[in-house]
């Protein structure tokens, strides 16, 4: 199972906890994780990836294994530790300024 950590606002929107476990079909990429997340929590559709453009919302970032993968391709396979569930895939709101 893929562990996904989501920020407070999305927890309230999806009415779920800070971390959810998802069964994501291979290959496991940011896009496949998010689409699986949206499938399980339809209220999140559009809140992470924009409608229309299908791009990551500008103030959202993705972390994997202590790396910022926000600017990687959405279809780049995620590290093995994410796929195994040893590390969480982290979705968070960017902190803009102090």
């Amino acid at each position: 199972m893929i562990r996904v950590q989501i920020p407070f606002h999305l927890q309230t929107l999806a009415q779920t906890t800070a971390e959810v476990a998802l069964d994501v079909p291979a290959p496991v990429t940011p896009l496949s994780v998010i689409r699986t997340l949206e499938s399980q929590f339809p209220t999140l559709r559009g809140a992470i990836i924009e409608h229309g453009s299908n791009k990551r919302r500008p103030l959202i970032r993705f972390f994997a294994c202590q790396q910022d993968v926000s600017h990687d391709s959405m279809t780049t396979p995620l590290p093995h530790a994410i796929v195994e569930g040893a590390e969480p895939f982290i979705i968070l709101g960017a902190i803009a300024g102090g």
Binding site: P7, H9, T12, P42, T43, G46, I48, E50
Partner: protein, 395 residues
């Protein structure tokens, strides 16, 4: 016995305040959607338990919420938990937070540019829903005024949204420009006597009227004078802050502009100033008494740079002559050291026999006058900054 339900949108959630017709003892429920900006909550006049809320975030975008039980429970229309989000063919079933400008060749308008603050061309970009206006006749029909300015309609209870693109495409769109708060469509007025007639107002483009149900639009800005634009009497560029109308006199419109309080007696064809003896004619909201079409309320703000009441005195001003002559209403309102603002969607009136007036402040207070403005009390003092106030009068 009648009662009232106040719907408050704030910077950090929605609140619902209820009281009986005396409007003395209040129950406060919320926050709903804690942590999110709630620009507007509005109830259907056809089905008062049908509420719509605009929930948004710079980070996570726009969400539409709906309640069918007066605010006890909420859901995103079209995406109830546990239901499929696509048809067997893979098409989206409903996406309540999907606001996409209509650029189709058949019905849409080219997605041109509008003006940016510096006058350069800037592409249209959806940011949020500022205002929701439920239909006066159909509980499943609701209009949404959005930033960047456009008008959307849903005919299925908020599940799906389509742009009424004749507004943005009426030919003047490339001249529209943002006000300080963004280029927002913040006011939608529906004419109870003529379902084909709608009004909208946009900062800073102006005001517009449709006489064919929203398909085509024309600007209604003749008589406005705005010295902060190159041509003060131009058709486009006026920063209209709010429009108000009394349902029994729909051709009479009142406007709080960036500066100036204005009036039109012919559905916006021509405006004249009625600021009269106000201490400042800058402000945001404007409202009309529920039973007296010539009784109008504004809340003067010191200036466009100083968004707080003149002299630190929070005063509602009432005109019983449809403008020009104004009286200060102060009983129960702070008369010193008050430096809050009252935003454009944050004043409302109920329809009880003794008309109640309500407004919310950026300091988190919501005030109520149960007697048309003569006496005021704070329903609540310490909410997050109040973005909008609506009130429902319930049997």
């Amino acid at each position: 016995m009648s009662r009232v339900r106040v719907l408050a949108g704030t910077k950090k959630g929605a609140f619902i305040l209820t009281a009986d017709a005396e409007r003395k003892n209040w129950t406060i429920d919320g926050p709903f959607f804690g942590g999110w900006e709630i620009y507007h909550v509005a109830g259907s006049t056809v089905n008062p338990d049908r509420l719509y809320a605009s929930q948004s975030s710079d980070w996570f975008g726009q969400i539409i919420q709906r309640s069918d039980d007066g605010g006890k429970t909420w859901q995103q229309p079209g995406t109830p938990p546990g239901t499929p989000t696509t048809t067997p063919e893979g098409m989206p079933i409903a996406e309540s937070n999907k606001f996409v400008y209509d650029t189709s060749e058949e019905t849409g308008s080219p997605l041109t540019t509008h003006q940016w603050y510096d006058g350069t061309a800037h592409p249209w970009e959806f940011k949020r829903v500022w205002h929701l206006e439920p239909s006066l006749t159909e509980p499943d029909t609701v209009y949404a005024g959005v930033e960047d300015a456009a008008l959307f309609i849903s005919k299925d209870g908020g599940s799906n949204w389509q742009e009424l693109s004749g507004l943005r495409g009426n030919g003047t769109g490339p001249l529209w420009q943002p006000g300080a708060g963004g280029m927002c469509l913040h006011t939608i007025l529906l004419d109870k006597n003529d379902p084909q007639r709608l009004y909208v107002a946009i900062s800073a483009a102006g005001a517009f009227r449709s006489d064919d149900g929203g398909n085509t639009w024309r600007s209604i800005t003749k008589g406005l004078h705005s010295p902060y634009i190159p041509d003060p009497t131009a058709e486009i560029g006026h920063c209209v802050h709010r429009l108000a109308m009394h349902p029994t006199k729909p051709d009479v419109l009142f406007m709080q502009k960036h500066w100036d309080v204005m009036r039109s007696d012919n559905a916006g064809d021509l405006w004249h100033e009625v600021s009269g003896d106000l201490p400042s004619d800058f402000g945001f909201p404007i409202a009309v008494h529920a039973h007296e079409p010539e009784t109008v309320y504004v809340i003067p703000i010191k200036s466009d740079s100083e968004h707080y009441p003149p002299e630190g005195k929070l005063r509602v001003y009432r005109s019983r002559q449809g403008g020009d002559n104004w009286e200060a209403l102060t009983n129960g309102l702070p008369q010193k050291d008050c430096y809050v603002n009252i935003l454009r969607d944050a004043m409302a009136v109920d329809t009880l026999d003794d008309c109640g007036i309500y407004f919310g402040t950026t300091g988190g207070q919501i005030y109520c006058s149960p007697d048309g403005g003569d006496h005021w009390h704070a329903i609540v003092n310490n909410l997050p900054a109040v973005l909008s106030v609506e009130v429902q009068t319930l049997p």
